[in-house]
Subunit: 431 residues, 2 copies
């Protein structure tokens, strides 16, 4: 294969005015304008890599600025010099000796790192002519281990353990691939249950989702207790006793309140309670989990790195591991968490929605099923039906399941006209 | 008192080229250019409030930009409308519905929040005509509680518990104040032990520090094991058996390595081991602590919020609580951590150094002694002898102790000529 060199990185601040319709509203995030710091890695081979990190509007400019800075050292490098050791590359990106102080591995800088690392993975997959899930699935266990920065997690997962796990789980790959290609990966919908929606709108959207074949539904809670319960009963009544209902408090409560509120809501038969309290509160989640059994506890969309996920697993704080494709530093750090979750036997159910998160995580779920967890049991990937029309290769959902993406890359490329019209502050949508 | 209104906020990106002399170098931060995102709150009363957040050079522009954004809503507000409920103000600053996604309460945004919140406290103290420590010490327990955002910590410290603790600890205040004014607050020096210094320079600086009356010394470790041990023996030999020696690995190691390396270094009689691993690894610190006893474990300069400190205390992960004046969101969040540490009986030994951190933390230590811990036993505040010449009211150190600041405010005001010459990229130092 000809050596491909990265010649330039373009960064775009992209914002969608979603707050105008209360899309994405929850108990904490009242008025999100779904946004992204987006980058394009240009090469001397006429092929480009795309990556983004998801944000809520204001502050996207900070991620874009950090992304511009982090991208500088890769201009002029060959793609293979990066991709042969993606773990080492990740460590470089998050280890800048002066930038590191601003994290480390959290917040604005880490979000920006995710966009860059994901763009490299997208480029890598395109050059290989494979969708990302297939690129990952066809890497050897050693190559996957090379893609991971094991720093700070070797007390629960060493490189050798990761290779052994991947090697052992290889058996049955072809059957799983056939099954996945035929049936798709199970998903759940968050679209009907946003915080700002009226009861009527929730019922209408639930009924539409049922008609479309959905079996797992998530409702936003964290408001007035009586309102929460009324809305939860409404959804339960609408979807019937056999479909699954999850609720999401988006970090609204302190620990004691979370325990009380979860117990109260448990009458509607919760499949999980999501983000009951601060995303940083590992021990708080562990206590809530102990005290609200059998309700299962889910968190992760704000869990900022593998060290935090390591502890959520060690502390037995979660039943459901909600990785985020760009809160963690891209594909590489997600691989680390997927492997740790497998070691602990905790199902990975990726967070999605926003802009591009569904497009991203379908690849991670497919790889998890094919090469790591080897099962779909108790696994569902989030789906939210917004903004997919802006993508060149949008997700395909059939009867409540993600169908395997086929085009090369990480499915995250946004259409040129969208990049033009929604760029902030100069695109025509914002003028 | 006349109503004072904030009329404007100026933000300055300030950088000192410290990396040219290896000042501040450690195993992870190899080339820091001590920097600050600095703000000045201008008022209609001709009096200004000053605040900064400490950074290491590159990326300061991101904190400055975030600070400009966070400061917008306070322009036009009266000072008293903010200061009568500093806890609610803190919650507002960190709770912006779109910015919050970029944290929450961590990284660039939280560092910026610290500069703003500290500037308000500085202004408050100046208007009251008191140094910050005195302002805090003379607030009632209820007023201190009003200055704290208790969100996410009520499972270990409620507002009522905080008030009760402060009320109970009041006895003996006058005696403590007399004692503190006479003797100063105990400190330790990090100046001789930077990573990039030669053995000869370390010996020379240790001898100078001994002559100046220092009794507690910190050495940077995390390099080659044999080098670390040689350097530690060198310092121990130089300072003798009765002075205290602490070592600081600046997050260099994974958990298992940290245990081995601490055991190996323990032959020089360590008073504490600082930042042995990732600052996010609460459970890792707890395990290291259990396994290296009786060596004490210290961390906190990268502990990004009260939720993380809460868990370090709950998990019995630390013997020494190293609050940082601007990693946490300013005075208000530091008050929360100081009170939690008191409840758990863990001594607070603030992180300092950098630029302005010594000026800041002397006030927090004084308040801790006067109103919370009521003791100096096992307490030392870090001191590093760099860049104090740039401050209008620099720290005064006598025989290894911080002498009580006397001028109104939080001692963080930087001289106008420094603001001009070191501003980045246009100051003459950077041209």
């Amino acid at each position: 294969m000809k050596e491909i060199r990265i010649t330039n990185v373009r960064v775009i601040d992209l914002r969608f005015p979603t707050s105008r319709e209360q899309i994405g509203s929850d108990a904490v995030n009242k008025d999100p304008d779904y946004s992204a710091a987006y980058c394009i890695l240009e090469t001397d081979a006429g092929i480009s890599g795309h990556g983004l990190t998801f944000t809520l509007g204001r502050g996207t400019e900070l991620c874009a600025e950090a992304l511009r800075y982090l991208a500088q050292p890769i201009v002029g490098r060959t793609l293979s010099s990066i991709t042969e050791k993606m773990g080492a590359f990740s460590a470089e990106v998050v280890g800048d000796t002066q930038f590191r102080w601003l994290g480390p591995e959290k917040g604005v800088i880490h979000l920006a790192a995710a966009a860059l690392i994901n763009a490299v993975w997208d480029l890598y997959a395109r050059v290989e002519g494979k969708p990302l899930w297939r690129l990952l699935a066809e890497l050897s266990p050693t190559q996957i281990a090379d893609a991971i920065d094991f720093r700070y997690i070797t007390d629960v997962l060493t490189r050798e353990e990761a290779i052994a796990l991947l090697t052992e789980r290889r058996a049955g790959y072809e059957e799983r691939l056939k099954h996945l290609a035929a049936t798709g990966y199970p998903a759940y919908t968050t679209s009907p249950g946003w915080f700002g929606f009226s009861d009527e709108k929730i019922i209408r959207l639930c009924n539409e989702a049922l008609a479309d074949g959905w079996t797992h539904f998530k409702l936003k809670v964290g408001g007035d207790p009586a309102d929460d319960l009324r809305r939860a009963r409404l959804v339960r009544k609408c979807i019937g006793p056999d479909n699954k209902l999850m609720v999401d408090a988006n970090q609204k409560w302190d620990v004691n309140e979370a325990i009380e509120r979860t117990r109260s809501l448990s009458e509607v038969d919760l499949w999980w309670m999501e983000e009951p309290t601060s995303p940083d509160d590992i021990l708080g989640h562990a206590r809530i989990r102990r005290e609200v059994r059998p309700v299962r506890i889910a968190t992760g969309e704000h869990c900022h790195n593998r060290v935090m996920f390591k502890q959520l697993l060690q502390a037995e704080a979660i039943d459901v591991c909600q990785i985020d494709s760009c809160r963690l530093a891209g594909v590489s750090e997600n691989l680390a968490v997927i492997l740790m979750a497998a070691k602990f036997g905790v199902p990975v159910c990726p967070h999605a929605g926003g802009v591009g998160l569904c497009e991203y995580v379908q690849h991670l779920s497919a790889f998890d099923y094919l090469c790591v967890s080897t099962t779909m049991e108790n696994r569902v990937t989030e789906f939210v039906d917004h903004l997919h029309e802006h993508f060149v290769d949008p997700v395909r959902i059939e009867r409540g399941r993600y169908m395997l993406p086929q085009q090369p890359g990480y499915s995250i490329e946004i259409k040129p006209e969208t990049l033009r019209d929604y760029s902030y502050p100069d695109g025509k949508v914002w003028k």
